[in-house]
């Protein structure tokens, strides 16, 4: 199955974040608890960790890009070879945990 990784929230006072760093290129597998991406808010860092296994497939917002809370950052899939042709429908959100520091 294909999953959407979105900017997690709500984060108090935050409407938009900036992508600081991806921890891996497309093709990397993530295990639950592993850090996928770090996001910057106006005053904090947000560490976003996978809450289920998945393969990073396509980065939608590269480092330095801005995105609103709830909007897509990347596509992941259960298996590396799954077809990404129709990611425009209602994709399920990848479960994540996030920590604000």
């Amino acid at each position: 199955m294909i999953y959407l990784l979105a900017v997690p929230g709500p984060i108090e006072d935050v409407e938009e974040v900036r992508v600081l760093e991806w921890h891996g290129e497309p093709g990397r597998s993530f295990h639950p608890g592993e850090l996928v991406v770090e996001l910057e808010t106006h005053k904090a860092l947000v560490e976003v960790r996978a809450a289920q296994p998945g393969v990073l497939r396509r980065i939608i917002c590269a480092a330095g890009d801005w995105q609103a809370v709830g909007k897509p950052l990347a596509l992941l899939s259960d298996n590396p070879g799954e077809d990404l042709v129709n990611p425009d429908g209602m994709l399920p959100l990848l479960p994540v945990s996030f920590e604000i520091s």
């Binding site: 409407e15 938009e16 900036r18 808010t41 106006h42 005053k43 801005w66």
Partner: protein, 329 residues
Amino acid sequence: MLTESVSATVKLFFREAIARAVSESMRRDDRIILLGQDAGRFGGAYKEFSGLYGEFGPDRVRDTPVAEAAMVGLGVGAAAAGLRPLVSITYMDFLMLGLDPLVNYAAKARFKTGGQITTPIVVKTTAGARGQGVAHSQCIEAWMMAVPGLKVVAPSTPADACGLLKSALTDSGPVLFVDHKRLFSTAGEVPLAESFVPIGEALVRRTGTHVTITAHSYMTRIALTAAEHLAEEGVSCEIIDLRSLAPMDVETIAQSAGRTGALLTLEEGQLTCGIGAEIAFRIRELVGPIRMARVGALRAPVSSNPVLEAACVPSADRVIGAIRRLLNN
């Protein structure tokens, strides 16, 4: 034709726009020093001075004790002696402690000495209500506008924060730079090229035909939200972001209000002797009798209770209601 060099911008958080203005200014002029509580290694209460201590070191970026009268006094004295201090007073409420050197000395030095002494100091401070109660929420810009010799600027966007702070740091001063707690979570496009926003020029943020709204700082965003809702019911609002409160660009307001025939002034501070009262009288002199209304805080301190805070300071709903009443009269 738009060219890359004209239109190129970078999106920055509000705090980054301030840090950039200070950094570019300090590189250009080694007389500029920064004084403030937590302004050094910590990088500012809102991280708006992040990176400056590392770049310019402890000689030019100094932490101060919690002593606002001493901070402003030191800055004013240093300005009179030839430096260009930027003094950061975290909460505008505590600027009250520093008013004696700012009002009685800095704002008067030029007049008192026939122009022989100038005090090119910039005092940066943060106004506005955001859950911190009676003595950490006030907007006292109107008090400051009443002081001859003191310039007061209050941006609403990262681009204007950067451009106005840069202008303030080249001004003969003194300049009070007022930002707002609720602006620090915002971001916006800032010109890539070094740019200045002149002190004393308002900006039309939204064009409209039925009513002119004046606002500054965070209230500009409230006005824009109100205008979007009113547009859905066919009311066209023109929004003037004052940007500079003293001197004030009365011409731009008069030009707009003369055309729309209706003026609503919006401020987060108190209405009595407020910015709206000042604007209304000056527009009355220039434009003649038009419909006018003003929106500001209720006549009470801003509570630390979030429900009462929201009730006290202006909201988009209050602006919408006031404009409906103004236009229906």
